[in-house]
Subunit: 358 residues, 2 copies
């Protein structure tokens, strides 16, 4: 495809110190006019909802800065709306709001507005929202979907012709999305080692949905047990990322004939459900039972004893995702970037020696 290739070549800006992208041209105009970049975009695209005063102000700034119309026209030709869509599977997950915050601050600084959708943990709604945001002319998409392999969603993403960044989900390469992942083994390995050091052998992992984080953590359990030459005396309980799943499995484990001596919760919602059951049943966490939670949310800090957690920098995940998207939007960067973030284990008194161990 070479249509319009001469038009889309970068024209050096007429003023020094600029990066030369059409976006920086728009930003200078916005700053000179004292208006938002979206207002500049509206005026220059002939949007009807623009006051005469706003139009005059923006056009005066364009004239004052001696911009060649070509430079500004280039971003208009792309029909940019300065909007980014964020498809979220479950907005009620408290860690999501931190990721959203990181992305939103970064995008806002670059002049973009974010439109969020919430899929109520229904992958078919994720699919519908991807199509809707495209119709509403989002310039790019961030994705934190429920599922990694819902075929209609994958097909919708394959058809998509705008930059896309997926967070914490391993989507097929055919989707062509850049990725922001956490290195979940980096936090899980020391958590498992800590429990083994404390004498725990019978460890229950209340896992969540069959997504990348779950697979990585199960792989860590297996690897650490193998490395220590121990038989695989851990159990994995798959399910949903919900308090219900955490509460149900915890109640089941407590009433088992041979309960585990340690529980690892695979998400913050699972942790909260588990802690509700443990506190209601008066289990002395850290003595009768050791417990490792997920994500350093308030509950983990306020619970007594404080809860050891698998931790990650959620705001940084969102910031990275926005940066990857901006790079594609501004520089037509390749979509195959992957950014890997560290995770860590925070040891706290919720983990104690296994009962009966020396």
């Amino acid at each position: 495809m070479t249509t319009g290739s001469t038009e889309s070549e970068e024209i050096p800006p007429p003023r020094g110190g600029l990066s030369g992208s059409p976006r920086s041209g728009m930003r200078e105009v916005a700053e000179a006019a004292g208006v938002a970049m979206s207002s500049v975009s509206r005026v220059l695209s002939g949007h009807p909802d623009v006051s005469p005063a706003m139009r005059t102000r923006v056009l005066k700034a364009v004239a004052d800065l001696h911009y060649k119309p070509d430079i500004l026209a280039q971003s208009l030709r792309r029909r940019e709306t300065m909007t980014v869509g964020f498809v979220v599977g479950d907005i009620s997950n408290p860690v999501v709001s931190q990721i959203v915050k990181g992305a939103e601050l970064k995008l806002r600084d670059a002049g973009y507005t974010m439109l969020l959708t919430n899929s109520l943990v229904d992958p078919e709604l994720d699919r519908r929202h991807i199509e809707l945001l495209r119709q509403r002319r989002a310039d790019g998409l961030l994705l934190l979907p429920v599922s990694e392999d819902h075929p209609p969603m994958i097909r919708a993403l394959e058809r998509l012709d705008i930059p896309t960044v997926v967070i914490e989900r391993d989507l097929p390469a055919s989707v062509g999305a850049a990725c922001v992942f956490s290195d979940h083994r980096a936090g899980m390995d020391p958590a498992v080692e800590h429990l083994l050091d404390l004498g725990h052998r019978h460890i229950a992992f209340i896992a969540g949905q069959p997504v990348r984080a779950t697979r990585e953590r199960v792989a860590s359990l297996k690897a650490v047990f193998t490395r220590r030459g121990l038989p695989p005396s851990y159990q994995v309980y798959g399910g949903s990322y919900s308090t219900e799943h955490g509460a149900r499995i915890t109640a089941q484990l407590l009433s088992a004939e041979a309960p585990p001596t340690a529980i690892i919760a695979g998400s913050n919602q699972i942790m909260v459900g588990a802690l509700q059951v443990l506190s209601n049943q008066g289990v002395a966490v850290g003595r009768d039972l050791s417990f490792v939670g997920c994500d350093d949310i308030t509950v983990a800090q306020i619970y007594r004893p404080q809860i050891a957690v698998l931790d990650r920098d959620l705001v940084a995940l969102g910031t990275s995702a926005a940066e990857l998207l901006l790079r594609q939007l501004r520089e037509n960067a390749e979509a195959d970037s992957v950014i890997m973030h560290p995770t860590r284990f925070i040891a706290r008194p919720s983990c104690g020696p296994a009962p009966g161990s020396d």
Copy 2:
């Protein structure tokens, strides 16, 4: 304005058992075709992103149902997009996700998709999001803004020509929005009475932003003290709905010369910030200091002792808001409706007798 008045008259549908609104016609077509209402809308509006198979399926259902094109055309003439915008001031507030959930489930059942915006507690971003959602052709708006009186936001709302429902914020009548409120005095009155019954006189209310809920709760404090013939020995500490505000004021109160014997937190974030300080300083809640929180979130249930709270049904608030909006969208109902929801006080062991009282 009488333009198109004959066109917008309701035409009785050709089949029995229907409400006669164009929407129910579209829904029947969607059901017969086994597709989403948004797909019917896309096919009939000639949207380019429609597969030939989808088009055939929808047009066959239209034919099978013997619909007169007029009925369906009516909703198309209105240029409906089956999208509702939800302008949220702070998505990281955990109670917001419950309100969103209630609204979203109701709207989804009616065939609408929701687009959310998050304003990072910046009223100017609320203003920008209102304008953006209108440009993106939302059929109606739900609002849970940061501020009740940010003039540019108020002007943006006054200019708005689509149905609007505001939740928990008291906006000027000129805005023309329907309202969903909580009766905050219904929960605050018994909380204050409970503390007075326990002998507390020196009560600190860590209030949040100067919005309706805050005014109502301060009015309740005043009214209950007056009713009991007591001098107004309470203090109100205004600020933001944030953990930082809750933590800062709590630390300040604990180090005061004459600390209060009871604290009431004016939001869930304020409660969390206060509890972090109380637990870090080892304050025996319910004995050294009584505490009333806000919204029955997990932290209140898991803390030991459990925290008494001012409670409201958040999902119901969202459901009501969606219902009010749907009524305006479907029946052109008047915009001056107000729905008031109850609140209640849940007494828990975080409140005990005032130290030194008999």
